[in-house]
């Protein structure tokens, strides 16, 4: 069965997108990406280290020819910072597909939706394909889609918190109203969280810390791969209705 995730014309077989931060080494990161079966990875844009040129480079471990790089704007707190960062990313990589996140404060890293929407509009005008990190507010999600974002990426819970999907009702509302892919971004802690997101009908899951800070990141990457597939298949299969009382699975007729 072909079940492709299409974002801004790019076709992905894997619905699990992983971050490349917080790993002990890029080598471990590469092994986790392999185990996760990921085809898209998020990356950050940072100053080149001028003093220590022997530091390992991400591109030497995660080949941009093999993995679709999704540059992010992590650490940006204004639309202007985010746009500046993504213009540099476009120049460095040569592609328009980006992840926009405009944060509000260091403690929660909660997305500043007013700035996010403003940045999204400006970036789309400049020709970027914008996958957007956002709150789980269906109203802002709709505004972002109307502005032309190519994927809506609501938080499950705070970045790096591992608290899971805190508001499944809102996530489902966003899924129901959206005609572009909805990808839960942030908050996944373990495999069941990823499966839950997919069972709600999300088109994909983006995670970093859940894998990178597991005791065994590579095994967790594999678990997440299976969780996303399981959740997706369960969603497509359509779950049974919930009932208040028991309903025997064995026939009552012929009982001795």
């Amino acid at each position: 069965m072909s079940d492709i995730l299409e974002v801004a014309g790019r076709k992905l077989n894997s619905r699990l997108i992983i971050g490349t931060g917080k790993y002990e080494t890029y080598e471990q990161n590469a092994k986790a990406a392999e185990a996760a079966g990921a085809e898209m990875v998020t990356v950050a844009v940072r100053r080149v280290n001028l003093t220590d040129k022997d530091k390992p480079l991400l591109v030497d471990y995660l080949d941009p020819e093999k993995y679709l790089y999704l540059p992010n704007t992590a650490g940006c707190f204004t639309a202007e910072d985010a746009i500046r960062t993504l213009r540099l990313a476009r120049e460095a990589g040569g592609w328009e597909l980006v992840k926009l996140e405009v944060l509000s404060d260091q403690k929660t890293l909660y997305p500043d939706m007013e700035e996010t929407l403003r940045a999204a509009k400006l970036l789309i005008k400049e020709g970027f394909d914008v996958m957007v990190y956002c709150s789980d507010d269906p109203v802002y999600a709709r505004k972002l889609e109307d502005a032309g974002c190519c994927a809506i990426m609501p938080l499950g819970s705070l970045i790096g918190s591992g608290l899971g999907i805190m508001n499944p009702v809102n996530i489902r509302l966003i899924v129901e109203q959206s005609s572009v892919p909805v990808i839960v971004d942030a908050g996944v802690g373990t495999a069941s969280d990823a499966a839950s997101a997919m069972e709600l009908g999300c088109d994909g899951v983006l995670m970093n810390t859940a894998i990178a800070e597991a005791k065994d990141p590579i095994l967790m990457a594999s678990a997440m791969k299976h969780a996303v597939i399981a959740g997706r298949e369960a969603y497509l299969a359509g779950r049974m209705p919930k009932k208040r009382y028991a309903d025997p699975s064995s026939p009552l007729a012929g009982l001795i």
Binding site: V59, Y69, G93
Partner: protein, 66 residues
């Protein structure tokens, strides 16, 4: 002339282009981007873009991030 590169003050002999600066810093132009005084310098213009005293240069690359 004095140029600020990634926040560090550095002194270079004029004339110097962006390509010359990358050479002097021993940086390969692979998967990096350069910003001069908040304006992107396209890779195709590295050899033609002359730097001036007081320029603020940012040289960035992709690193691990979530």
């Amino acid at each position: 002339m004095d140029i600020t590169v990634n926040g560090e003050e550095k002194r270079f002999e004029a004339p110097l282009t962006v390509a010359g600066l990358l050479d002097a810093l021993e940086l390969a132009p692979r998967k990096i981007a350069v910003e001069r005084n908040l304006e992107i310098v396209p890779k195709s213009l590295f050899t033609q873009t002359a730097l001036a005293d007081g320029d603020r240069i940012e040289i960035v690359q992709f690193v691990g991030g979530g």
